[in-house]
């Protein structure tokens, strides 16, 4: 509702008042914790930053359906299968909420889908890792959705109204994702030796990629400054990562699983966990497209999009036919 036919008004408004005054007014509103809405004046850089961030977020939800979707047909029980289908469906829903939020900034859904399918758009590096065992489904829910929640809760207070509102809906649903994952891990950890080993190996696979989800360390993060000034981002990458480690290590202990970090220790003085260095070269490689599943994920999306084309065409044709005057039907 926000953009169609209204974008044209933005330059008109800008013509009356000069850019610097508008930007000052905008920043004052952000400082006052007012929400910026689609038709409000906003700096071009703010708009572009949001389009980039929200669309990457949306793409991540869509691609995020693939690693777990891989296990739907092989879930060990009907209960687990129903849970997994519900979770994967939620991820698709989250993608849809976020695409809608991005569209309020003047970019079309078709453009966004095209950017994902052409490989031009980025999405979270985590979804380029494989899910070789059932325990990976648990580890994803517990760690990947856990890290996502850490990142998404502050986004509910982000200065851009449609993004903040989409995040409120997402967060409401995300807690189920994390809990079902932990529940799955708990069941494996309390099971046979083989099941426990499977859980441990999944934790070994997902621990470091989950820490990388928070993005480069603050010293190397290029977008943090503006995003914090504009209250899109409330906490730095390192702050969120630390919080995630502090929350998650005791959960791993409860499972009786070992976090795969020999340097991990509790710092009594700082009241937080110290952890070993992250292998950023791996992160860079995955981002560049050289992760274990980058090509596979995009290929799967392209196939799904192409295979669904006839459904979209049929729905459009049916809608067009129904719009025609009834005289045609009589004749």
């Amino acid at each position: 509702m926000y953009t169609q036919g209204l974008d044209g008004q933005v330059p008109d408004t800008a013509a009356h008042t000069d850019e610097a005054t508008l930007e000052q007014r905008f920043l004052a509103r952000v400082d006052a914790e007012e929400k910026i809405e689609p038709k409000d004046w906003m700096p071009v850089r703010y708009r572009n930053t949001l389009i980039r961030q929200i669309s990457q977020h949306a793409h991540s939800e869509i691609v995020g359906m693939l690693p777990e979707g891989n296990w739907i047909t092989r879930a060990p029980t009907l209960k687990r299968k129903a849970i997994l289908i519900a979770k994967v469906q939620d991820e698709g829903g989250h993608g849809a909420y976020l695409y809608s939020a991005a569209e309020t900034l003047g970019v079309s859904r078709d453009q966004l889908v095209e950017q994902l399918l052409s490989g031009k758009a980025k999405y979270s590096s985590i979804f380029n890792y494989p899910t070789p065992t059932w325990a990976d489904v648990g580890a994803i829910g517990w760690l990947v959705d856990g890290a996502a929640i850490m990142n998404q809760i502050p986004l509910c207070r982000c200065s851009y109204g449609p993004y903040a509102r989409a995040m409120v809906r997402v967060c409401r649903e995300e807690s189920f994702h994390q809990r079902q994952g932990y529940d799955l891990m708990l069941q494996l950890a309390r099971g046979s030796e083989a099941q426990k080993r499977m859980a441990q190996e999944a934790l070994n696979r997902w621990w470091w990629p989950a820490l990388m989800m928070f993005g480069p360390s603050d010293a190397n993060s290029t977008h943090t400054g503006d995003s914090q000034r504009w209250k899109i981002k409330r906490f730095s990458n390192d702050e969120l990562r630390q919080k995630f480690v502090d929350f998650t290590v005791p959960q791993a202990k409860f499972l009786g699983l070992a976090v795969p970090d020999p340097e991990l220790r509790w710092d009594e003085h700082r009241q937080q966990y110290e952890f070993g260095p992250i292998d950023w070269s791996e992160f860079d490689q995955v981002l560049k497209g050289n992760g274990p599943c980058n090509a596979e994920r995009i290929a799967a999306r392209r196939n799904a999009h192409a295979a669904g084309a006839w459904v979209r065409e049929a729905a459009s044709a049916y809608a067009a036919k129904r719009r025609q005057p009834s005289a045609n039907i009589a004749a």
Binding site: Q4, A315, S316, A319, R322
Partner: protein, 96 residues
């Protein structure tokens, strides 16, 4: 070839419980109103969030312009006598 035209956008309003207003929940693309309703049900009521859904073509919504907020809403600002708290009523007077 696929239809070049993007499906139109619909705004979704959901009544959470009987007796409440329909509230704007989000938006979605659909080829027609019937599909918009069906998508809205899948997208916005997966956890019994509603008992009734409205879908409205986004182009049918006429919105006020934030640039005109002052002329639209400012005139109400100094009319504090429109609020009950403007009037001081002696304590002796009850149920007023």
């Amino acid at each position: 070839m696929e239809d070049k035209h993007q499906w139109p956008l619909y705004e979704v309003f959901v009544r959470a419980r009987g007796g409440l207003d329909h509230k704007h929940t989000g938006s979605l693309h659909a080829p027609d109103a019937a599909m918009a309703l069906s998508h809205a049900r899948d997208l916005y009521t997966r956890r019994q969030e509603g008992v009734s859904i409205w879908v409205v073509p986004s182009t049918a919504i006429v919105a006020s312009d934030p640039a005109e907020n002052d002329s639209l809403f400012e005139p109400a600002r100094d009319k504090i006598y429109r609020h009950p708290t403007f009037y001081e009523i002696p304590d002796e007077v009850k149920t007023l």
